[in-house]
């Protein structure tokens, strides 16, 4: 295998191993979850383009976060005219917080599996529907015969329950917040 193939495989391994963490980090920087995929595509391409400059032995996740932060900021600046975005100082604070909690969020994802299983089936189904790509809450609310506002509130309560559940589980495992 020549060095180019080796580099490609190394990149794919590193990227796939860290993809969820990168996606989670990008999500904390982009206001709408519907836009995350678009930013992630940019991030993936830029990471590969810059991979030749990635110093061997350096923390890939940390390096990827730096690239993601830059790409997210550029993406938000492009759209600052037609939507609300955080001021630079708040953006930096959020990015810093998200990076410092990356390990915690990885454990949070693992705990989420168990917490989701503890949700009543109807609420699990609701979460499934609400988070399916392309789902619009107003349409889902209409299908369920309730107002969008009441559905938003219901989903908020489920999110709080899940957040609380994951925090308790991690606390029980000795992982403080």
């Amino acid at each position: 295998m020549d060095s180019e193939d080796s580099r490609q495989i190394r990149f794919l391994k590193l990227y796939t191993a860290n993809e969820l963490a990168i996606r989670s980090y990008v999500r904390t920087l982009i206001p709408s979850r519907d836009d995350v995929e678009e930013v992630m595509q940019e991030v993936a391409v830029v990471l590969w383009r810059k991979f030749a400059d990635y110093p061997t032995g350096e923390d890939f996740r940390k390096w990827a976060f730096a690239v993601s932060r830059f790409e997210a900021l550029a993406w938000l600046r492009d759209r600052a005219r037609d939507r609300l975005v955080f001021n630079q100082d708040v953006f930096d604070l959020i990015a810093q917080e998200a990076e410092s909690r990356s390990d915690y969020h990885q454990r949070q994802r693992e705990a989420l599996d168990l917490c989701l299983e503890k949700l009543p089936p109807t609420q699990r189904e609701l979460v499934q529907q609400a988070y399916r790509p392309g789902t619009r809450i107003d349409q889902l609310a209409e299908q369920r015969g309730q107002s969008p506002n009441s559905l938003y509130k219901l989903l908020q309560r489920i999110r709080i329950a899940l957040l609380d559940c994951t925090r308790r589980r991690l606390l029980e495992e000795g992982l403080a917040q």
């Binding site: 495989i9 794919l12 796939t16 993809e19 969820l20 996606r23 989670s24 999500r27 904390t28 206001p31 709408s32 979850r33 595509q41 993936a44 609300l84 955080f86 100082d89 708040v90 959020i94 917080e97 909690r101 949070q108 994802r109 989420l112 599996d113 917490c115 989701l116 299983e117 503890k118 949700l119 009543p120 089936p121 109807t122 609420q123 699990r124 189904e125 499934q128 988070y131 399916r132 790509p133 392309g134 299908q143 369920r144 015969g145 309730q146 938003y152 509130k153 219901l154 989903l155 309560r157 489920i158 999110r159 709080i160 329950a161 609380d164 925090r167 308790r168 992982l175 403080a176 917040q177």
Partner: protein, 491 residues
Amino acid sequence: MTSPHSPTPSDFSTPPAWMELFHAYIDQTLTSDQWATLETVLREHAEARRTLVDLLALDSALQSDHAFCEENTTLSASEPELDISTQAVIALPKTEVAVPQESLARTSVWRRNSTIVLAVASLAASLAIWLGWGATNNTTSTDAVWLEVLEVNDLRLSSALPAWNAGERLQLTNLKIDSGEVDVKLDSGVTLSLEGPFHAEFENSGSMQLFHGKMSAEVDEKGKGFTVRTATSEVVDLGTRFGISAKADGETDVVVFEGEVKVRRKNNPTKPEKWTTLKSGEAVRVAKQKELQRLARVRLSKNKKLWSSQSSSPNSLVVDVEDNATEPEFLHYLGVVPQGMGEDSQPYSDRPNVRWHPVTGESFPTELDSTDLVRTFLADRGDRDLEIRLQVSRPCIVYILIDDRHTPPPWLDREFLKTDLRLRLGPWPANSMKDVPADPDGRVFIPCTVWKCHVDRAGTFVLGSPVVKGSKGQNLMYGIAVASAEPEPIH
């Protein structure tokens, strides 16, 4: 990452006003004033930043894990279900949701890992293609959907990755097309023709979620059961060629070109509706909170699998065609195929194997070749009250091609001129037409005469029933072709 103190569960409470802001931020419902308040809170309180990024990370995890596996799972007795009514961070009235008992009894297992594998495999496959890797590279999961690119036409994908080329084999879950067309074949034997803008997610090689866009599918025996889900409907193939399009608001059109599909609405996620079977030549529109609605006209392309239920372009000769059928169970569509008339063209939307043929020993009449074809349906042959309204955009010649064995209906005799042109229509099964002998291969072809009428201006032209009062025997439904009476406009 450890904080200076280890909180007890009671420490999890966050000021309700903050949580309200966080949820509004996540749900994208913040007002400008709330936005300013949120920024202040985040600027001043580390706890607020921590809770918000935790919520956003949770949101991301939920989005990555949207697939459920409907399997039974058992919670241990010591692990009660989460009760969101006890989550008093925000005091809200409890929302009542009516759910049938059978749905309550069903449990689901969260299936993150396989979804992650699919997502990762999709990216890896995209990168592999982008990097010029062959299909033999073994670094991707075999769980994602493999497909072979058959044909590409001005394709632009909604990503930074290069467009595909015919002959490539790749693996993906999510597909977004900005513009252009592509034909792909799945390993399940399903061939799909996709037209941008288009967005879908492959759940496996036998099912997909169509968010918006238009496609047609050709499903062989191996691929039977291929399922397409949209926001409002579920379509299951029973071995066929069919088309489906979905708008962002969920409105879904389903057209069967050949074979059968079954379709049902998904208005109530907890109470599936009954299936409706659609056969060749039938088409419906599925919309929220409405009964299935007949699509009376479908525009088709001559050589491609493209189709449309929308109005014609301004330059179309046949602007529209409709009939006077009102029965709710009648779901046949009239097909408009620009320049679609010719040897082996299909006259009826409900009989895909019956075709126009030249008379034995002759070639197809030049006058009719490449004129616009309007597909009628054989089911109309006995409708004495039938009216077909043909709307044309400019002067034209309307041709009616009709069974030569019987008396022409009065409206045809009165308004049309019988030409010397002749065609054959078939094949029909042997012995299906007692007065027409089968050919040596056991097939029956019906002789047809061609009638024509000059239409001198744009407008609507009404055609009548093929049935003649008092005549014996069963006429066939007539065929329709339309030719421009003036040179094609130059664009």
